[in-house]
Symmetry: C2
Subunit: 371 residues, 2 copies
Amino acid sequence: MHYPALSGRTYLNYGGQGVLAQATLEAIAKGFAEVEERGSFSHANSAWFTQEIAQTKQVMAEELGVSPDTITLTENTTVGCNIALWSIDWRKGDRLLISDCEHPGVVAITRELSRRYGVIIDVFPLLQLAHQPADNQTLLQVISDYLHSNTRMLCISHVVWNTGQILPLKEIVELCHPSNILIAVDAAQSVGVLPLRLADLGIDFYAFTAHKWWCAPLGVGGLYINPAIADQVHPTYIGWRGLEGKSLGAKFEVATSAYPLYQAFRVAIATANQWGNQADRYHHLRQQAQTLWQELKCIPQINCLNPEPPQCGLVFISVAGKSALDLSRHLENHANICIRAMPHPPCLRASVHYLTTDKDLENLLTALRQL
Amino acid sequence: MHYPALSGRTYLNYGGQGVLAQATLEAIAKGFAEVEERGSFSHANSAWFTQEIAQTKQVMAEELGVSPDTITLTENTTVGCNIALWSIDWRKGDRLLISDCEHPGVVAITRELSRRYGVIIDVFPLLQLAHQPADNQTLLQVISDYLHSNTRMLCISHVVWNTGQILPLKEIVELCHPSNILIAVDAAQSVGVLPLRLADLGIDFYAFTAHKWWCAPLGVGGLYINPAIADQVHPTYIGWRGLEGKSLGAKFEVATSAYPLYQAFRVAIATANQWGNQADRYHHLRQQAQTLWQELKCIPQINCLNPEPPQCGLVFISVAGKSALDLSRHLENHANICIRAMPHPPCLRASVHYLTTDKDLENLLTALRQL
């Protein structure tokens, strides 16, 4: 399978945005052209849109291990997080718990909830645990210490974007659900990485995007909502699509989207499944990330921030005396290596995918050794 | 200019969705391919996205007669209406006035505002005025009769989707602004139809989409916010794009969109401007709509619901003894005529565009005469 972005380039930014297979690119063009052929606003297209939405939710649901009725199609992860965070009847003095590693966009939502409803935002220290081997008991104790009798929601990442920690969602649910605390998950860095059976985890919201690790087009994402909380949640942004939709997920959709991208999304997932199943993809991705981790440890001026072999695709690297942003620019401009500079903690983040080759890893290592 | 959807088809559904020029279709494919060529998540694409967003707002702003800083890019009209309706600090007992002709999606938002904040929704009768010649004084009196001391917002359409009425926004602003009532406008049926100089109207919000009369891709829309109210409004759905953005409009954007569609949007606008300027396009569109109106009056079994020559592209038709939905399906399947069935009042809605030819009108008239 040909991925144009990978030609002549070492690509290590899947956590920011994936790369499109040629077949996915062709599906985008074909999808938009076919809408015109079927007459744009026509009964033929209306039937097609309905079917596209259903098929797309079906594919997302299969990848996540849930029912298609629980899926809301969105534009990106952040819209899903917004739907979740705005969905309950917040009262003044209610508390919302987040970690100190959540994405700035999510943090900004919680600030507005605080301003508008008087919700108290608690922040538990997760970053400090990133530099020691994963220890679920300690993590659960920290979370537990930050829960109050009026905590109503916990909003956390499944895979933490700036540390690569994988949070034990099932255990967190077991800790919080007895106190009726809802669990909203930012899944930007887990979907397309970890094998998932969401129905087994018991989480309440799971917001994800298709354009990162799934290598699908920009502008396609989704949200899973646990049917057990259907009576507790309400859409905030509302439109005709939510009114017409019969399922829980559809209620949270708004209006017209770039529907032809849905077909391209399914081509991207089919392409991934041709490579291997979720477990195979995860196994290879982790193997490549661990290989990189091992090799990085042998370069004297490099500090690899992951304290133990990475369990997902995110590998964090700092180089003594160098600015991460300058390094990232330098590697892109002089070595055709795409690797992201993180603001906090300041470092480079290599996103290793199952598409990442041994040659890609060697290119990065060579460039780092030459610094 | 070639529009694939117009080949062998009489297209009269611009009010639902426009048709894409071949050049616009090609720009979509090219845009997505070029993102891959520039390395997906790369510094090169980051600079490109920033420029794309700026250029797109510039083009929208020129078409609307406002400053680019006042434009928020959205997915569709309804998202813009949601941003507006959720943006102020509603208090229990505040009143929101809408007409009885607003889109069901907008009505649903007001219901949720009522449920969540205790906002009282008032509905003024606009439909009853649709069957008599336009009379701004009567309309302004009706609106005035429905204003209360605690009315904080009026949400109306510029061109009414189910009647074609054009509301006198400047006069409505003059009526409402002295009482600090904000004016939010659903512009789904006016953008791409009426020549616009929004800065002269004084309205507070103007929510629009690019995929209808502008004949641009699905999934691109916008919202104008009057800079005079910048201190009164807050974003609800929030994300990194809103945090990074410096302008009023950017504050209301959320996260990743299908950016390559922006380039295609600008190709669509450039294509429209090649045909003629806003005034020329409007003049021709209105002329075609009025020709249709005249001809319809000569068909005995037809009732054209517009009481006087249409001033925009919407022409409403009922056929004695026939269901509009059946007729719409029949015309699409047997005569390749795309014309929409409206739920209320039940009728056909012909959307006449400057691209609509005399032959298109004759095809519709012939089919209607044969019923």
